[in-house]
C-alpha cells in the first residue's frame, strides 16, 4: 500500500484502513473456518473477506486494490469455488450417493471434524467472496467509464 498515492480518501482514513484491513480479513477467515462450530459459515465469511477488499478499494482507490486482487484473479477464484463445491458433492459418489459425507466425522466440538462441511464452507466462501468483489469491481469500472464519456 503506497502511502504517497494521491487517489482515495484522506490520511486518517488511509491509516485506519491500513491498521484494520488485515484484522477484517483474519476475522472473515475465522468465521468461515469455524462455520461448523459457531454461528457464521461460508456465506458470511466470504462476504467479510470481500468487504475487506472493498474497504481497501474505497480508502486507497481502485489501482491499489486491483493490484492486491486483480479482476481476473477474482473471476478465477469464483469459478474455482464453484468447481470445488461440485467436486466435493461428486466425491460422495465414491461411497454411494450425491453429497454423502465420505470423510470421517472426527470428534465433535473440534476444529477438524464434521467431514465435508468445513470443506464446503471454504468452497462457498471462495465463491461468494470473489463473486461479490467481482461485481463491485465491475460496477466501479462501469461508473468511471461512463463518467469519462461526459
Amino acid at each position: 500500500m503506497s502511502r504517497e498515492s494521491e487517489q482515495g480518501m484522506s490520511v486518517i482514513v488511509k491509516t485506519v484502513t491500513r491498521l484494520t484491513v488485515g484484522l477484517i480479513l483474519l476475522y472473515g477467515i475465522y468465521i468461515l473456518s469455524h462455520g461448523h462450530l459457531s454461528p457464521g459459515g461460508g456465506f458470511a465469511g466470504g462476504v467479510i473477506i470481500a468487504l475487506s477488499f472493498v474497504h481497501l478499494m474505497l480508502a486507497y482507490g481502485k489501482e491499489v486494490a486491483l493490484r492486491k486482487l486483480p479482476r481476473g484473479a477474482a473471476s478465477f477464484f469464483e469459478s474455482m469455488g464453484a468447481l470445488m463445491f461440485l467436486a466435493i458433492s461428486l466425491l460422495g459418489f465414491t461411497a454411494g450417493t450425491f453429497f454423502l459425507n465420505v470423510l470421517g466425522k472426527g470428534e465433535p466440538f473440534r476444529l477438524f471434524s464434521a467431514g465435508i462441511i468445513p470443506l464446503c464452507n471454504i468452497a462457498i466462501s471462495l465463491k461468494v467472496g470473489a463473486g461479490l468483489f467481482a461485481i463491485f469491481v465491475a460496477l466501479v469500472l462501469l461508473k468511471f467509464e461512463s463518467e469519462t464519456k461526459k
Binding site: A82, F99, S113, A114, G131
Partner: protein
C-alpha cells in the same frame, strides 16, 4: 424417474427454441417455460426451497423482460365481451374454491404445526453430521442439494452482471444514439 427425463428434454427443446427464435417476445415465453419446468424438476428432486425461489425469481425476471421488450402496452379490450370475461372469472373462482376446500382439510390444526423433520434434525443432528452448529449441519449435509442450487443461482447472477458490465462488445460513441432509442 421418467417424468424427470421428459422435463429435461422439454427444457433442452425450450432453450434451443429461445435461442433460435427471431421474435423477442416468443423467446422470452420459451425462457419462461424452461424456468417453470426447472422449478418442477427441483420439486421432483425433493428440493422445495429452491423450487419456490426459482419460481419467484423466474416470474419476476419474466415480468421485467416482457416489460423491457415490448415497445408499448399490449392492447387490452374489455368492451363487448363482458359476459364471457365474467363467466370465465366466476368459473375460475369456483374451481379454486373447490380445490381449496379439499386441500385445506388436510392442513394441521392452527397452532399445532407438524414438526417431524425438525424434531429429527434436532435429535440426531450432531450424531449424524458431526457439526455442533446445527445450521451448518442442515444446510451443508441434510439440505446440501438446496445449497448447491442456491450457489448456482449466485454464480449465474455474478456471470450475468460481469457479462453486462464488461467493456468488450459495447458500442462506440455516435453509434449508440439510434439503437439505444429503439430498445426502450
Amino acid at each position: 424417474m421418467i417424468e424427470l427425463y421428459i422435463l429435461l428434454i422439454f427444457m433442452i427443446v425450450g432453450a434451443i427454441i429461445a435461442v433460435e427464435m427471431k421474435d423477442l417476445l416468443s423467446s422470452i415465453v420459451a425462457v419462461g417455460a424452461v424456468g417453470l419446468a426447472l422449478s418442477i424438476v427441483f420439486l421432483i428432486l425433493k428440493a422445495p426451497d429452491v423450487a419456490i425461489t426459482q419460481l419467484v425469481v423466474e416470474l419476476l425476471a419474466l415480468i421485467i423482460l416482457i416489460r423491457a421488450t415490448l415497445k408499448r402496452d399490449l392492447p387490452f379490450s374489455t368492451s363487448g365481451r363482458w359476459f364471457l370475461n365474467t363467466f370465465i372469472t366466476v368459473i375460475f373462482i369456483a374451481v379454486f374454491l373447490l380445490i381449496a376446500l379439499v386441500c385445506l382439510k388436510d392442513l394441521p390444526k392452527f397452532g399445532y404445526p407438524i414438526m417431524r423433520v425438525s424434531q429429527e434434525y434436532l435429535k440426531d443432528g450432531l450424531l449424524k453430521t458431526g457439526a455442533p452448529n446445527i445450521v451448518a449441519g442442515i444446510i451443508l449435509d441434510y439440505r446440501a442439494y438446496d445449497t448447491l442450487g442456491e450457489a448456482t443461482i449466485l454464480f449465474t447472477a455474478v456471470m450475468g452482471v460481469l457479462a453486462i458490465a464488461r467493456r468488450v462488445g459495447r458500442k462506440r460513441e455516435g453509434q449508440e444514439d439510434i439503437e439505444d432509442k429503439e430498445e426502450f
